[in-house]
């Protein structure tokens, strides 16, 4: 037999060891009760009509019989075995087969007040015998009794009934049966007939509230003697898969932060996010006005993830899946093959198909079933139509915690009001929840609207602070550098015009520079010529001067020779002549 997994330390009960628990098999309920219902004890499930008591009891037995090897006896006061079988079939349970396999015994207890006359003292031994017989016939370990109130309506003398019921609960406990007893909610107190006085081990309340014409089912573990449990109200769903409880509040902030990245599908955007894209397991918010390209960004991301073999779940609250596929094809993103490979799944629904809790529950269920790595919610702001901003925030907190816990990368889009300059403020109430916030902004100028994209924040990564122009082309999304200059941010045609003007100006400037260059060359040549002329002039002058000096020298030498010649002829003292003109003395 299975042993329930009890994660948290439990206070000791009267007996040795921990309180043993029996898994219900109901999705989520075992988590909030930390393992299931108390073994060998009776659990009271109370709630108003139509809140799912019978179903919960039935599921407890069916799961016990099919998954945990514990046959169960269902004692019903309200529905005949046939009605019960039909109800079970609607949830995919084949009760007749379970009965044939001796895994389930169903006893319909019919009490017709009009047939019954009281005459003296009585007890409920007949009921005891019936329950005992049903249990013994299949060796049941689990029992569900639905709904004991009928006894009070069908039998006189409530005093006797109270005593007998007390005996019944004690008897069930003595037999070691894990039992569920359902009861109608009372005006004063939990149940109409005060069963909570007798059953005190575990009490679960179910609720079915309608606000703004949208109903939400909620469950609460009111009491669980000897065990830790969540006391919050949690939403639950009843659909073709049965009952599922959403233990969203049990998630804390202890999820693992991953460092690996997931590409956005747009190389430029990856680059803006420090190369690589979003963090895996991160939450991305894409805000923008109507028609700003949020869905296209989301689809691009989805396609990229699927191409890497990741499963992607796409919640759309605006368009049908075929509409999304068609629209995305127009920008060159073909999602259909990915859907065929079952890598991409759509879940399209109007927000008004349920309350926030129902949507949350559905997301939980679908994510648990499909186990995607990427989830897209487009646009999450549409959910505001079925809840207030604070309710949505609370729901998103839970859903994001859930995604993070499962390391699902989530991209939520947010439709912001109009194109006000302060549009981003409308998302601030959830911005703290997200890791990366991308804003797609309409830039309206010169008679046209263009899209600008920038990253408002991205936790834990160096990211670009640039505004980029965001364009939807036949080949998908393209990011272009916008024109940033003294005129402000220019996009679209204005950017084109400005770029053309800039190019012309640049050409002009280049030409001027070349002109200057040429002029400089010319000037250099001119100056050089001048320098040459002056040099030549100078050289000529120098030559002139040299010649003149030469001439002078020659004339002076001749005079000395003449004088010497004359002295010789006159026999002048030789020494005088030597001193005077030694060099020139000619023999």
């Amino acid at each position: 037999m299975n042993a329930p997994t009890v994660k948290e330390p439990e206070p000791k009960t009267s007996g040795p060891g921990r309180l043993e628990k029996v898994p219900t098999g109901i999705q989520g309920l075992d988590e909030i009760t930390r393992g299931g219902l108390p073994r060998g004890r009776t659990t009271l499930i109370c709630g108003g009509p139509g809140c799912g008591k019978t179903l919960m009891a039935l599921e407890f037995l069916v799961h016990g019989a099919t998954r945990f090897g514990e046959p169960g006896a269902f004692i019903t006061f309200e529905e005949t075995a046939g009605e019960l079988a039909t109800n079970g079939a609607s949830l995919g349970f084949d009760l007749a087969a379970l009965e044939a396999d001796r895994k389930l015994a169903i006893d319909y207890v019919r009490i017709e007040r009009s047939e019954i006359e009281e005459s003296g003292e009585y007890d409920l031994e007949g009921l005891f015998i019936r329950i005992g017989f049903a249990i013994d016939s299949i060796g049941a370990r689990r029992v569900a009794i639905d709904t004991l109130e009928v006894l009070f309506a069908g039998l006189p003398n409530p005093g006797i009934l109270r005593t007998e019921l007390r005996r019944l609960f004690r008897w069930l406990k003595e037999k070691g049966l894990t039992a569920i007893v359902t009861a109608e909610r009372g005006d004063n107190g939990l149940t109409r007939h005060g069963f909570e006085e007798y059953i005190s081990d575990c009490v679960i309340t179910l609720d079915h509230r309608v606000s703004d014409q949208i109903s939400t089912r909620r469950l609460r573990v009111l009491k669980y003697r000897g065990s830790v449990h969540d006391t919050d109200e949690v939403p639950f769903l009843i659909d073709e898969g049965g009952l599922s409880v959403l233990p969203i509040s049990s998630l804390g902030l202890d999820h693992q932060a991953l460092t690996s990245r997931v590409s956005t599908g747009i190389p430029d955007l990856d680059a803006m996010l420090g190369g690589g894209g979003f963090y895996r397991g991160g939450t991305v918010l894409v805000s923008g006005g109507a028609g700003s390209g949020k869905t296209s960004l989301a689809a691009t991301f989805a396609r990229r993830a699927c191409r890497e073999g990741k499963r992607c779940l796409f919640f759309t609250f605006e368009e049908s899946s075929s509409q999304v596929v068609r629209n995305m094809r127009s920008i060159g993103i073909d999602l259909a093959p990915l859907m065929e490979q079952d890598l991409l799944r759509f879940h399209a629904s109007r927000p008004s198909t349920g309350g926030l809790e129902v949507h949350l529950a559905r997301m939980h269920r679908l994510v648990a079933d499909f186990e995607p790595e990427v989830v897209i919610i487009d646009p999450m702001t549409n959910l505001l139509t079925v809840g207030t901003a604070s309710e949505l925030r609370s729901m998103l907190t839970r859903v994001i915690d859930f995604f993070k816990d499962r390391q699902v990368t989530a991209l939520l889009t947010s439709l912001t009001a109009a194109t006000l300059p302060s549009q981003e403020t409308s998302d601030t109430h959830i911005s703290w929840l997200v890791d990366t916030w991308i804003l797609v902004r309409e830039i309206e100028s010169d008679g046209e609207r263009n899209r600008g994209l920038y990253i408002l924040k991205s936790r834990g990564m160096a990211h670009s602070n640039q505004v980029r122009e965001f364009r939807l082309t036949d080949q998908g999304i393209e990011l272009i550098d916008v024109y940033l200059g003294t005129d402000g941010v220019l996009v679209g045609a204005a950017r084109e015009a400005r770029m053309i003007r800039d190019e012309a100006e640049a050409r002009e400037r280049e030409y001027e520079a070349q002109q200057r260059q040429r002029r400089m060359v010319q000037r250099r040549a001119a100056v050089r010529a001048q320098i040459d002329a002056l040099t030549a002039e100078l050289e000529a002058e120098e030559e002139e001067l040299r010649r003149a000096a030469e001439r002078e020298h020659n004339s002076e030498g001749g005079k000395a020779r003449d004088e010497a010649r004359m002295a010789a002829s006159r026999w002048v003292d030789q020494s005088f002549a030597d001193d005077n003109q030694g060099r020139t003395v000619q023999p």
């Binding site: 005459s119 003292e121 005992g132 006894l151």
Partner: protein, 119 residues
């Protein structure tokens, strides 16, 4: 209201136009009873005694009383839709009627069996 078939849900009023007397009345009707008890508890014993007396006194010669200990045949509890014990089921004449308890209130039973007019 049809005097021959009094509505089973409603207690006949004292001035109902169908006075039934054990001696006259529908003297030819045979009453078939099943009395279900749980073992030989004092309460079971009282129920058997009370019913036996009632048959002898008011339905002598036209009463079939079967006493069944449900402990011996627990499967009958479901078949007979028993909840409270002791239970007396009047199977015939129709309509079917159930009495729960130790059957100590004989007058009440007689009225509801249409044997005696409501006092």
């Amino acid at each position: 209201m049809n005097p021959d078939h009094p509505a089973e849900d409603e207690a006949p009023s004292t001035d109902a136009p169908w006075p039934i007397d054990p001696q006259s009345g529908r003297g030819d009707d045979v009453f078939v009873f099943s009395l279900f008890i749980a073992g030989m508890s004092p309460r079971s014993g009282r129920a058997v005694d009370n019913m036996t007396k009632l048959c002898d006194r008011y339905l002598a010669g036209r009463c079939e009383l079967q006493v069944i200990d449900i402990y011996q045949q627990p499967e009958l509890a479901q078949e007979e839709q028993l909840v409270a014990l002791p239970t007396l089921i009047k199977k015939l004449p129709l309509p079917l009627r159930r009495f729960i308890g130790d059957l100590s209130d004989t007058d009440r039973i007689l009225v509801r069996l249409d044997i005696r007019r409501r006092p």
